[in-house]
């Protein structure tokens, strides 16, 4: 479990995170939703330790970020996997080398074992063997996202973070990526945190949903509670689009 308590973060005069308390549970897809500029990405990067925080604490199964020694921090890093919005694959490396990089740095596996693990991860995200030697530029956006997921899970992490994994993808590919993250989370019992704008993701895979508004947690609940909630923040956020307004009134009528 990842526990966040009283988190504050400012950039100069700009107070981006204003005291967030939330728990993210193991074996669940925890979704952070909110409008652009609500602080989602800063929040995610703070949890990852990419931004130092001004106040508050973040703990990973009791281990508090910032209070760990170098060795402990290094071992925690190996328990983390991250899928970036733009995939962040290394252009100079092939697909296979991209996925193998964390193993090259942090495992004592033999070359054969590494190759086997890389093949397993890439096949798990449905990448064909004949694409292993290609460079990221030769793949479609959806395939790049799948390779990024394979790289994120190659060290068998306990915590998986995804920053807008569906951005820039067509609706069909977006569903495939959502399902993949959901399956992997449940299969390996990971604590997964996903930043998203996509309501489809919320309704498909949101085991636990946190709504952020102006740097604060505005609401949290399960995916089935989202559509029925009377909370004004949720109603304002979810039912901005006409499609969801109609869906809500249809649900209410039924």
């Amino acid at each position: 479990m990842i526990r966040v308590e009283g988190l504050h973060k400012s950039f100069g005069e700009q107070h981006v995170l204003r005291g967030i308390d939330v728990d993210f549970y193991e074996g669940q897809c925890n979704l952070i939703i909110g409008l652009s500029g609500s602080g989602k990405t800063v929040f995610l990067k703070s949890i990852l330790g990419l931004h130092s925080v001004d106040q508050g604490s973040i703990s990973f199964d009791g281990r508090i970020l910032g209070e760990m020694g170098k060795k402990e921090m290094k071992s925690l890093r190996q328990e983390m996997g991250m899928v970036f919005q733009g995939s962040a694959l290394f252009n100079s490396l092939s697909i296979e080398e991209n996925v193998r990089l964390p193993l090259d740095f942090f495992s004592d596996m033999t070359l054969e074992e590494k190759a086997e693990r890389v093949r397993f991860c890439l096949e798990r995200v449905r990448i064909e063997v004949d694409s292993f030697g290609k460079t990221p530029a030769e793949l479609s956006g959806g395939m790049q996202k799948r390779v990024a997921i394979a790289r994120a899970i190659v060290l068998n992490p306990k915590y998986l973070f995804c920053d807008e994994p569906n951005s820039g993808l067509d609706p069909e590919t977006a569903i495939v990526i959502d399902q993949l993250i959901h399956e992997i989370t449940h299969e390996f019992g990971m604590t997964t945190i996903i930043n998203t704008h996509d309501m489809n993701s919320v309704l498909e895979i949101g085991d636990h949903v946190v709504l952020m508004e102006q740097g604060k947690k505005a609401w949290e609940g399960r995916m089935d509670e989202v559509l029925n909630s009377d909370d004004t923040s949720v109603v304002d956020y979810v039912f901005r689009s006409n499609l969801f307004k109609k869906l809500r009134s249809a649900l209410r009528k039924s």
Binding site: L48, K74, Q78, F84, P102
Partner: protein, 248 residues
């Protein structure tokens, strides 16, 4: 302006501190080093060869025309061309050209990695991006630039010889003896010392600008341009300082 300069200088040294962290996985750094040698070194051979041959040729033509006196032996032309190439053209001018080619490549590569979150990806994995991405580039430049400059000296001299012969400007036998007349090997040491310092400037200054890019594609371009300008200023300045220190 002075404050901004000092602030930038301080950031540059802090960046170097981050880069020169002891690597934990030498093998991975080794692989990266050979990739950089290929990318930054081998890919420059053609350009350096082309420029060196023609600069050697032009130096010979200009010197021969300016010293076109029957009482000045052709070996003097060769000596002037040799000193020009070894002392200044190969180490300084070729380093300035490499600053444009290699330096802008480094700055734009690192800048793109920064804005596409590839550096964040390394940090999340527990890899120090400054050290992993920059250290191999520095060593590649320190190792390969002196080789390129030595190669440039040789080709400059060859280009000068053939230009003189082809255009009938010099007596080639006398000219060739001039290349070896009163040759001071320290000039090569001086030249390679400068090259070494310039290589360090090229690798670290371009990396500094690329590594600290914030924003998007426009900022990557700006950082690349800034890095080339700063490298050129630094190379010219250090050329003056080193010449004063080593040749006086």
């Amino acid at each position: 302006m002075i404050y901004r300069f000092l602030e930038g200088l301080g950031q540059y040294f802090l960046f170097l501190g981050e880069v020169f962290h002891k690597p934990e996985h030498w093998k991975e750094y080794g692989k990266s080093f050979f990739r950089e040698i290929e990318l930054l070194g081998f890919s420059s051979i053609g350009l350096v060869a082309f420029i060196s041959v023609f600069m050697g040729a032009v130096l010979t033509i200009q010197t021969a025309i300016n010293l076109g006196d029957p009482f000045v032996p052709d070996s003097y032309i060769a000596i002037a061309v040799r000193e020009g190439i070894i002392l200044e053209f190969a180490p300084t001018i070729v380093s300035l050209i490499l600053a444009g080619k290699v330096g802008s490549n480094i700055a734009s590569t690192l800048g793109t990695m920064r804005v596409t979150e590839q550096m964040d990806a390394l940090r999340v994995m527990g890899i120090n991006p400054a050290s992993y991405l920059v250290l191999p580039k520095i060593f590649a430049c320190l190792v390969f630039n002196p080789i390129l400059i030595t190669f440039s000296m040789a080709l400059g001299l060859v280009g000068g010889y053939y230009a003189g012969d082809f255009l009938g400007l010099v007596n080639t036998e006398v000219y060739l003896t001039g290349y070896f007349d009163e040759f001071d090997p320290f000039y090569v040491v001086y030249s390679l010392t400068k090259t070494f310092v310039f290589a360090f400037i090229i690798a670290t200054v371009s990396s500094f600008f690329g590594y600290n890019v914030q924003g998007g594609a426009v900022e990557v371009g700006k950082a690349s341009t800034k890095s080339v300008v700063t490298m050129s200023f630094s190379i010219i300045l250090f050329n003056y300082i080193l010449t004063n220190l080593l040749l006086q």
